[in-house]
């Protein structure tokens, strides 16, 4: 482009930015010229200060714009994206939502579904324990009967796992519970009356992971996992809407 010559970009030869400082702050430069400004101010405090002043004034111009509030979805989408450890660069704008979802799927590959027969047996037994708890059984009676039925289950009850009810976020949220190993090695999510496809997202040490879609027979949805790192919070989503959340305390 002919307007990129030194005459128009005096800073190209080492001089200060001149008017380009203000044009840059307004977004009125072409990408190549804008990049030159950015490179220049990295080593020129004088021009950096001038650009900063211009940025503040440009922001003042925005105060007169019609105020438009964000949708409810934007904040949630941003938080989730910020928490996701992405292996690829920021998604293309035109595929923003899709790309976020794709990266979450990639992240989920760091988790290994726990599908051994023994674990399934434990999980089913644990779910039974919860059902019994919900029915109002006294803990001493529960422990005694379980001990007579299944030594492995007794071990689970006494020392190996915790459980937590998920907090519903909507009126139609499913009743959901999470069983999880106290050492963090496995997690079992069960939701009653899911009302559609549920997807679980786990939040650990600064990273969010797509835990996957819960298996459902229409009445109950379940998901079993063995995370490689501690999950401290789990959110269930139905159709991209968060419906339940729970915090796991180890």
């Amino acid at each position: 482009m002919d307007h990129l010559g030194d005459e128009i970009n005096p800073h190209a030869d080492g001089a200060h930015l001149g008017d380009d400082a203000e044009l840059y702050a307004l977004g009125a430069l072409d990408p190549v010229s804008a990049r030159r400004v950015e490179q220049h101010i990295e080593g020129c405090p004088t021009c950096a200060a001038r650009v900063n002043d211009a940025l503040l004034t440009a922001a003042a111009l925005a105060e007169a714009l019609p105020a438009i509030a964000p949708s409810a979805d934007l904040g949630r989408r941003l938080s989730r994206s910020a928490a996701i450890r992405r292996t690829t660069s920021t998604a293309s704008r035109s595929a923003g939502r899709t790309s976020t979802r794709t990266s979450q799927r990639s992240a989920s590959s760091t988790f290994t579904p726990w599908l051994t027969e023994r674990v399934v047996r434990y999980a089913i037994a644990a779910a039974l324990v919860l059902a019994l708890l919900n029915a109002g059984w006294q803990s001493f009676r529960l422990h005694r009967e379980i001990a007579t039925e299944d030594v492995a289950l007794s071990t689970l009850v006494h020392s190996h796992f915790n459980h937590v009810s998920m907090t519903p976020l909507l009126g139609g949220s499913p009743a959901a519970k999470i069983l999880y190993a106290r050492d963090g090695k496995w997690i079992y999510i069960i939701a009653d009356r899911p009302g559609g496809t549920l997807r679980a997202f786990g939040y650990g040490a600064g990273a969010a992971i797509d835990l996957g879609t819960m298996s459902s027979d229409g009445k109950t949805a379940t998901l079993m996992l063995r995370p490689r790192s501690r999950i401290h919070r789990i959110i269930l989503e139905r159709g991209d809407v968060a419906v339940a959340v729970a915090t796991l305390a180890y």
């Binding site: 977004g27 105060e63 714009l65 910020a82 704008r93």
Partner: protein
Amino acid sequence: MDALVDDFIQRRPQGLERVYSEWSVLFVSVARQVTGEASLAEDCVHDALLRVWRASNRFSGDRPLLRAYLAASVRNEALAAIRSDSRRGAREERAARLAPAPVEEAPVVDPVESERLRVALERLPGEQRQALVLAYYGNKTHVEVAERLNVPLGTIKSRIAMALRKVRAELADAEGQR
């Protein structure tokens, strides 16, 4: 250091959440004015904030500058989107209907600042005001402004830059009189 700025440049999630909580209306308004489309505008806000936050340890400044820097980043994201879009003409028409809004007709991002800005713009020489308004509210590059007004590039650059400097001075004077 300001806790919000510190959280943001340390790339703590709460830093991004606080920035969004306090300034999301500004960011969305800026992006929407450029794109004229709600969905694309929010995509631009999302992408710009995330990109800056992930590289935020490069930022050095106070809270007003962070706000201004982020607003500029959102605007640049939106400008890049429309400038690479073949449907730009239609978008610009929609965007033009959004900006700037007279104070008495629609809620603005900041009514007080908006009134001070209106006064500052009115005090500009007509040629400078026209160039600045086309560049910022019309979302045009200085080359496009020069073509639109049939004025040499160097002249347009000077008019735009001078206009912005005068607005800054006017706003500073108004601030000092408060």
